[in-house]
Amino acid sequence: MKKLLTAFVGSVALAAAPMAMSAEANKELKMAYDADPVTLDIHEQLSGGMLQLSHMTFDPLIRWTKDLEFEPRLAKSWERIDENTMRFELREGVKFHSGNDLTTKDVKFTFDRLKQSQDYKAIFQPFSELKVIDDYTFELITKQPYPLLLNTATYIFPMDSEFYTGKTEDGKDKSAITKHGNSFASENLSGTGPYVITDRQQGVRVEFERFDDYWDTKSPGNVGKITLTPIKENNTRVSALLSGGVGFIAPVPPTDLERIRRDDDSNLVTMSGTRIILFHMNQDRVEAFKNPKVREAIAYAINQEGIAAKIMKGFATPAAQMSPAGYQGHNESLTPRFDVAKAQQLMKEAGYEDGFTITMMAPNNRYVNDDKIAQAVAAMLARINIKVDLKTLPKAQYWPEYDERAADMMMIGWHADTEDSANFFEFLTFCPDAESGTGQYNAGNYCNPELDALVNKANVETDLEKRAAMLQEVEKRLYEDAAFVPLHWQDLAWASKENVKIEPILNVMNFPYLGDLVIE
């Protein structure tokens, strides 16, 4: 009897083996993010959430790897033709969700649409055109030599031109990008990505199913169905994971890291992030901030290591510059300076021994522990006799104040859309110029035309080693000048159930490549 049973089980196992190999994408994943995609039109808004959606339902020409290298996706190869031109070969046999074939006309359509998009047009401003050579060859042409051409190509997720062209039943243009109100593209989607959307209730859930004709058959991904539930409340999101309600959550709040680490059944992944948190010192509002010695004193008075260790519970990387490690401009010689005696000495030298009073503003629901960080900084400044009148606001109220430069010191966090140092400088330290839009978020009104010129020069330098040297020089000069107060790069954290192998698909840009996710 026992023999018979073993033989029976054996034959079933044999029969099941080839089946298991063919039915690859049969796993189901429930996941909870802190928000869901606001729209299905990937060109409507440039945000982390939208890029996450883009990587699930579309595919870029090329994409970033874990160590910030480029990996071919829909473009299988590329070569530089001349100073301003890069030629790309498109992968053949790629199908859209609608069944249409991907050709260069779709890439061209997408490129033109990106130039129309309010959120993306600034990023694509250096490009003059996309030239179609044949069905599977095209060229990206820039106005001047542009070192970030490939960085920008990671933002081109080809859209199905046939699907998005024409009129809807009520006569609206299908390709229109609408910021508010409904458009065809905000509710319908046809990409080449690993997942199609089968059901979506905004703010409640989005359901994805693996696309049968997905081109990347080499991908190890075996998840057939994904249900995304937005859970904004930190506690609830963590509880959902711990109770087994979901298999993957992001982000993990710093206060719950220990709880998840202690749970045998969960898996925590953390990474040093690329979003810098900093304070601007407004030189137009406070006379003393014009004095480099005062700015330096403030830089010496603030304990980045302490903030990262105590307030962020080790969940941040203390910073002395804007560029995180891995960026071209990252200058390794710059380290946080913290020396209260030195700070007091500098204040004395500057003639402000008795100190002065300033106002400070920070958001209280935008960055991790933002209000607590601001309180700590205010307390640290008290030690060099700078009395701080601190006000923290919800982000919806904070940004209008920020645009007005309503306080002497203001907090901001910044992530470079181009994954490049120059983006930090252009928005945060360039001389504010309403005409060109540079220095848009430079609430310190710090202005050093010499540095601006150097960054502009770096922006047309295609020799990446030379360019890196220039950008590192800029970081060093800003550091010496104490142009702003860098605090830290916010770390990133994700967590999953033990059998959901998220480690290989995560990256510092925080768009998990869910198409490649393996569940055991």
């Binding site: 909870a32 309010q118 910021k179 509880s239 087994g244 109220q397 848009q440």
Partner: protein, 349 residues
């Protein structure tokens, strides 16, 4: 009766008007809705263009009259975030909230009446004292704390190993204090039954009912003690009254006296208070829905505030105002039915 309804309808209009004016007056303080719609790197000029396009640059008075004109035609504006008419958005989220309120109300009714009556009839019994003690604690614990504790106990589960496991009593205590978890901690579950319109119900599937348990208990936890105490107090007062004593003296059975004569008069003030409590319930659903990611109007409203989705905020406030007026009217009508001596419209005597 007709005069009463006419009076109530005109009151409703006044309430709506006041709410809309207040909501409009505070919208500057709610922040910039555009911030949520555009990326950080979008230039000021682009932002101005979008703002113009959305009519946000018009004077507030112009914006108000545009809104009021549309509202009179039944159009409460379009949500910035959902890109849909606000009324549609609210109707989509309303069933979830109503089911939560129904779930909580059932728990309240099922437990508050017997416990309240029992505590009134046998005020000295240890069980009655126990219930009263628990209800004092229940009133003073905030609903979100109850919710978090419930999730920890019944979703995640707690393993207690404080007592020696090699003794019988230790094992028993450990076992008694440990919980298994496993109850759903968020959302309404996957299996909803479509009823009609936007109503997808969780009442008809096992998964839907399990998802209702923790949120309903949390929401009920704040109201249940209140009702127990209220019913007990009213009942005790009624039991002291002459007609009850007379009924007892006549030799009517205790059940008949307690449950027919006394309870009926006890319920009058309870109904009134219950009607008022519906308003408070709305406030507590916001907290409960946030903790349980319950996709109802409370959660929707809170998120609309963080996104400065002004049309949706205004529409929600107006719908809630309407619900208030309607429930208060119903409460008054029911009161009149139960106790016909009450005059609905104040006539001069």
């Amino acid at each position: 009766m007709l005069a009463f309804l006419v009076q109530r309808i005109s009151q409703a209009f006044l309430v709506m008007f006041v709410i809309s004016v207040i909501a409009f007056a505070i919208q500057d303080g709610l922040g910039d809705p555009l911030q949520q719609m555009v990326g950080m790197s979008v230039s000021q000029d682009e932002r101005e263009a979008i703002r113009d396009d959305m009519g946000l640059n018009d004077p507030l008075v112009v914006q108000y009259f545009r809104f009021a004109g549309n509202a009179l035609q039944g159009d409460l504006g379009t949500s910035y975030f959902y890109g849909k008419p606000t009324l549609d958005v609210i109707l989509e989220h309303l069933p979830a909230t109503l089911e939560l309120v129904i779930g909580a109300s059932l728990i309240i009714i099922v437990f508050s009446v017997p416990i309240g009556v029992y505590a009134a009839i046998r005020p000295q019994a240890w069980l009655a004292k126990f219930f009263m003690g628990i209800s004092t604690v229940g009133i003073s614990i905030p609903v979100f704390l109850t919710a978090i504790v419930l999730i920890q106990l019944y979703s995640i589960g707690v393993t207690v190993d404080w007592f020696p496991a090699d003794t019988g009593w230790g094992r028993w205590l450990n076992g008694a204090l440990s919980t298994d978890g496993g109850l759903p901690s968020y959302g309404r579950g996957d299996e909803l039954t479509h009823l009609f319109g936007t109503w997808d119900s969780g009442f008809f599937s096992e998964s839907g009912l399990w998802h209702l348990v923790l949120p309903s208990v949390s929401l009920a936890s704040i109201m249940l003690p209140l009702f127990i105490r209220l019913i007990r107090a009213e009942m005790m007062e009624v039991l002291q009254s002459d007609y009850i004593r007379y009924a007892r003296a006549k030799g009517l059975s205790a059940v008949r006296v307690n449950f027919l004569h006394a309870l009926k008069n006890t319920m009058l003030p309870v109904i009134t208070v219950g009607g008022v409590q519906i308003g408070i319930m709305v406030a507590y659903t916001i907290l409960t829905e946030t903790v349980f990611q319950w996709p109802g109007v409370g959660l929707m409203f809170l998120e609309a505030i963080t996104r400065s989705d002004i049309p949706l905020i205004v529409a929600y406030l107006m719908v809630v105002g309407l619900i208030f007026v309607i429930t208060n009217t119903l409460v008054d009508l029911i009161y009149g039915l139960v106790n016909p001596t009450v005059k609905l419209t104040g006539k001069k005597a």
